[in-house]
Symmetry: C2
Subunit: 412 residues, 2 copies
């Protein structure tokens, strides 16, 4: 029988009633003839409670024990979901990570899945089991210790199972009903997309659209797993939600798929850096070693052997960056007159695979912002994305103007 | 290094503070030079919460899923305890049942331990680990599913580990500071026993002294594991609590070790049963098949081919017993005129290995009760125990009078 993956996040299994509702959705797919693998998260709030206990017990915790404690939340949900399905006369059983086994690296609390053998679950499908309920977010290391995949790891678990079992599709049930052209809280005309390409989803996810974990989208793209994002709180039809798929499966699309934004950005500038070969490498190596996630980078034209170096990073990493630069200067590695930090900026991006074949998107974006009197501070571009850093107070205005100009409220 | 077993029950690990207090006790034993195996229960209340969810989800639950869900409470405590010990610079790690592995039967929710291989834990002791924190109450079946041992199973886990690792002693930390000559709430002069024989403890446990689970005492007796019961809420000296041990290790003891009682008894009488060979077998097979735990049995002298048959059983099984007897009569298996049930009785027992060598204990017991004007309804005796069924309103009086008469407030 064809295999379907279904993943339910924490809010979708937060109570016994919600588990029942989710189980009914699973029952619908079983009735269609699928063998179903369900990946469950912990009931919402449970993981935070467990993490809180670990942090209170041991602030610099042994990640192996962290994993042993924190993984228990998913085990509870898996058992309860299996029982709920059994009550509905659907043959089901729960699987903890080590029982499958979900083989991972030993990088505790942020392990990567290395292999998912299909034999044990397939043997049970052959015996008549219709649903394997697997505890998400966890696996087992080569040493036989429990590992976790890091926050959002249940999405990754789901996609990895879909790839291993060559599932027809991987449905991610969550508390939103799909991927939107932008955040509806900022632009009320935001439209749900029926389909979006993996590459677009990756850009949107890494830009702060919190629907899907980036790693799970990367994995889905690599193994060409069709991902569908849909709401566990609404009655669902077969074409509900948003399908994240290969771009070849998207016949018609707008040039721009969506407008993303991120509020929590800071812009930092090293003023009057002594410009010599290797200076950029020195600066950004120091920032990287300090754990600063540098996003955009701009270097001004050099004058008289000195230049200004500007970058953006998450606003909560500014202190860390300042410390790293001060130390590098004290150590004689770099030389600059001043370090400026502007913590009142935002990043706005337009994303779309259509940009590959359509020119003029950047020009149009800049013109729209100019018409609104919004000054662009930094620009970066990729093949399918253009991002700008602007004053944070204009962020909503920029998003709305761009959404409108690229006619994202209208389907292609 | 010698191995010590330490078991902490639910109230002893109910909060992070209590886990810290328990960990300090473990640290004291490590400092003495022991390699320690700690068995932990779930934080008190957690198991009940999980059981509640399972029952609400599926009243006639699949016991395999019940076990998968309910065992998670102990896993959390084991991880937190290991982290707490690490914070105290004690090399420790947690072990879930399947990691040891604790091999059990497949009788889910009431599995029996079959084997505890010592290799993996001993290998870690050899590498410098000083404490293995093991999740109690759980194991793994031959099919690789998680099993639980039933309520109170953590005591059994502790004793089984003590036997497997040939531990010097098995310390059971709980919310009482030892085994008493009787319940201090009934007799204020009740005295804590320094030592008690396995056989005495078994009689006391099965009579309702809820300090230790009966199975764990049986196991300790079979493998001659020295069991010590002590409080996790008091500073402890080396001879704190009560040592449950082989009778040969008890040099001096009172003839009677303690007075036990049970409030929740009922007395039932089948009046005028047709007396023929095999009639007792017919009656008690029917009761057993109905799940009635018959305790005491008395058959009156037969007159004119008819007799009265009396037994005691837990008061909440009276309805079940009545149904079984009515059906047996309707089915023609037995014949009686009336079934009486007295739900206002209590059982009082004196227990002591000294009875084996001292005569007159029964006579003295009956005289004491007679002096107080208490009528004895049923009597049973074993080698080290005499039990009587009396009107429940006299129970406290009987316990106090017997405690006094056998001078249990004074050490031997």
């Amino acid at each position: 029988m064809p295999v379907l993956l279904m993943k339910f996040g924490g809010t979708s299994v937060a109570t016994l009633d919600r588990i029942r509702r989710a189980a009914k959705r699973v029952g619908v797919e079983v009735a269609k003839g699928y063998d179903v693998i369900v990946i469950v998260s912990a009931m919402s709030g449970k993981t935070n409670e467990l993490v809180g206990w670990v942090n209170e017990t041991s602030p610099l915790y042994d990640a192996r024990e962290y994993d042993a404690v924190v993984s228990s939340g998913e085990n509870v949900t898996a058992g309860l979901m299996a029982l709920t399905l059994q009550e509905m006369d659907v043959p089901a059983r729960s699987w903890q990570g080590w029982q499958v086994p979900v083989k991972t690296t030993s990088a505790h609390s942020q392990a990567r899945i290395e292999e998912i053998p299909t034999e044990r679950i397939n043997a049970k499908f052959a015996e008549g089991m219709r649903v394997a309920v697997v505890a998400g977010f966890q696996g087992v290391s080569p040493e036989g210790r429990i590992t976790t995949l890091g926050r959002g790891g249940s999405d990754t678990t789901a996609v990895a199972f879909a790839a291993a079992f060559e599932a027809e599709r991987c449905d991610i049930y969550t508390d939103v009903d799909g991927v939107y052209t932008t955040d509806p809280r900022v632009e009320s005309k935001a439209r749900k997309l029926d389909r979006i390409a993996f590459e677009e989803m990756l850009e949107l996810a890494s830009l702060g659209a919190k629907v899907l974990q980036t790693r799970s989208v990367e994995l889905a793209m690599r193994y060409n797993v069709k991902l569908r994002v849909l709401s566990s709180f609404e009655e669902q039809s077969d074409d509900a939600g948003t399908l994240v798929c290969d771009e070849e499966e998207i016949m018609e699309s707008n040039v721009v798929a969506g407008v993303a934004f991120s509020r929590d950005e800071a812009k930092m500038t090293l003023v009057s850096v002594a410009d010599r070969p290797g200076i950029a490498a020195t600066i950004f190596t120091a920032l990287s070693e300090a754990g600063v996630n540098v996003d955009m980078i701009v270097q001004n034209i050099s004058e008289e052997g000195r230049t200004d170096m500007t970058w953006s990073c998450p606003v909560d990493q500014v202190k860390r960056a300042e410390k790293a630069m001060t130390e590098a200067k004290a150590g004689g590695k770099i030389n600059f007159s001043e370090l400026l930090a502007d913590t009142h900026v935002a990043k706005v991006s337009v994303v779309g695979i259509g940009m590959r074949s359509h020119t003029g998107v950047a020009a149009k974006m800049f013109q729209v912002l100019s018409n609104e009197g919004i000054n662009i501070q930094v620009i970066t571009t990729s093949e399918i994305k253009i991002s700008v850093l602007i004053d944070r107070k204009y962020m909503e205005l920029a998003v709305q103007a761009l959404h409108d100009a690229f006619e994202l409220d209208k389907a292609a």
